[in-house]
Symmetry: C2
Subunit: 356 residues, 2 copies
């Protein structure tokens, strides 16, 4: 359909979404897991990672973060790569996509109006007690899904959850899936061993054996998950309009959570849209995880950052950041609404030159 | 246009709204003013009034209040009258109107997902320091107005703010309008003297003379207002879609606030829709207040409660409750969407028999 798009999976529903009125919902959450040194690149330093979700959406609304002095970026040897919030901001503006922010439990709250689903952030999953009352978060998500149903025809749900691939690994593992060495990372060097060790410690402290399949998805999230997972799962199950899960391997944890609640859930209604940086990543395998869960279509969009003029964006080509804040899904939606990738990339470039 | 409708004012834009996609936003706030005995009927007792906004929207979503054991009602000699939330609930269901809840500063938060505009409730206006940072609340309202613009074609904004007519009197008076003995009440006996004395004490403590015209509307709200006023004013000024201000005399305080910020604001875009119980109330005069501010069209809807089978609803006919939670505007929107008043009243009756 678009040359910048790859489709994985048996079904392609894109033509059905072209004329649908979209709404982008960005769901924020943190867990103290993101403070473990080396586990995430979502922030310039471990103690700044919990500011990243708030700063991301503040960047979209205010053109600058208000909660901290610097725009979130991933710093690796050789330079820093801008947050994917700039990609999402460009798409929102060019394709005129309405958007709302929801708090599923971010420690730092953004300076803008947002939908409160859950206030309390998650703890370090090594404790084995990561999320308080995930059922309440899920139920609130369901109510929100119902509420949003009448306001749009296509819901695009993104997230900003630092260390979210680690909590995704936790939930996927607890639910019996083989996700080890398969979740993505915001760093070029995917710290798989660290992630596995963190999840192992969390499972052990929760009294769950590695390889044991936990039947209750709420127990899995409570032990080693993050509050974003039950929130988005609830939204998906509370609405009857088409959804695009805009994110990387974290979104497979949501699908696994949903399947544990409703075995026959129709995933044709909730494809995953991500970037080519996740889909073609050699250090992870989103398709392999998704296939274990069900027939989940995966769309992967290539923003062509090799032609970007802002050098920071080249970090995406070597594995920094990759995805987040709904970037892949928003690129897809902008394409669906007729904006060309050249126009989108020009605007991203322009924003980066202006903001960084 | 409808036999159940009266129109006051020079312009009637209803035909333009018929085919527009609506969104109902219910804005909650409290001030400690509502605890002054005898000032409001929005709650069965003074100490319960601060629960009323949360309980109202919980009733709509959950069919029961979760934050307190009893459904809000106005108790006077002769019986109790159900909250207008039942009217709004019936209209939402019958006309399938999408709705969201926003917190502008309610002391008790509802058990459901809501948009956080401002967390802190207002203080007793007798202190002369009622609302903290109304400018921030207004700015957040503006952002929300922008966000909601793309999600609907017609925004209906209601409120639940106990003692809100007293804070409206405060703001109107501070802004130089003659609203004394003209604001409405949720009680058949309008406690005008008490309201005036409360406002007088607040103005005095804020260093504002009765009759003095305060130029800065933020100063007026800060002294003797409530957080709902700058929140809704911000939403109105942040959006470019048509708005219906769904409420009674409180809505005139919002119009006055807006006019103090933008002298030439086009009020043809923000008519007030209320119930006949407010518009024809002999103890207040919404039209007289509105005319002082500008050419504000007022729609008043008659739900024909003399034909209601639930006796509690007859309390509206003798001056209890009158309006709130967007009831008048939602009745109008349901009519616009083709639901007959008989159908609406039957559903309200049914809800009352079931819930009370």
């Amino acid at each position: 359909m678009f040359e910048e798009l790859k489709v994985y999976g048996s079904e392609d529903f894109l033509h059905e979404l072209e004329d649908k009125k979209p709404l982008f919902l960005c769901v924020l959450a943190t867990t103290a897991t993101s403070q473990i040194p080396g586990i995430t690149g979502a922030g310039a330093a471990p103690d700044l990672t919990e500011y990243t979700p708030a700063a991301d959406v503040e960047l979209i609304v205010h053109e600058a973060p208000l909660c901290l002095p610097e725009i979130p970026k991933t710093v690796v040897e050789g330079g820093s790569t801008p947050t994917p919030a700039v990609i999402t901001k460009a798409c929102i503006e060019l394709a005129d996509i309405p958007f709302l922010v929801a708090d599923a439990g971010a420690r730092i709250k953004p300076n803008l109006p947002y939908i409160l689903i859950n206030e309390k952030p998650g703890d370090d999953i090594r404790t084995g007690k990561a999320v308080d009352n995930p059922r309440k978060i899920f139920e609130n998500g369901k109510i929100l899904g119902e509420m949003l149903s009448g306001m749009a025809e296509h819901l695009i749900i993104g997230e900003s959850t630092p260390a979210g691939t680690t909590t995704a690994l936790g939930v996927l593992t607890a639910l019996g899936y083989d996700a080890n060495f398969k979740v993505s990372a915001s760093l070029p060097e995917n710290p798989h061993n660290l992630k596995r060790d963190v999840v192992k410690e969390g499972l052990k402290n929760a009294g769950i054996k590695w390889g044991e399949k936990v039947k209750d998805p709420f127990k899995a999230v409570e032990a080693v998950g993050d509050p974003m997972i039950p929130a988005i799962a609830g939204i998906c199950m509370g609405t009857d309009i088409p959804i695009t899960l805009a994110g990387g391997t974290q979104m497979t944890a949501i699908c696994a959570f949903i399947k544990a609640i409703e075995e026959d859930f129709d995933f044709s209604r909730t494809p995953i849209a991500t970037t080519i940086f996740v889909a073609e990543d050699e250090t992870s395998d989103i398709n392999q995880i998704a296939r274990q869960i069900g027939d989940i279509t995966i769309y992967a969009v290539d923003p062509g950052f090799e032609r970007a003029t802002h050098k920071g964006l080249h970090g995406y080509l070597t594995g920094s950041v990759k995805e987040g804040v709904g970037a892949g899904g928003m690129l897809l939606e902008a394409l669906l609404k007729g904006v060309s990738m050249d126009t989108i990339r020009d605007r991203i470039d322009e924003l980066c030159h202006k903001l960084f």
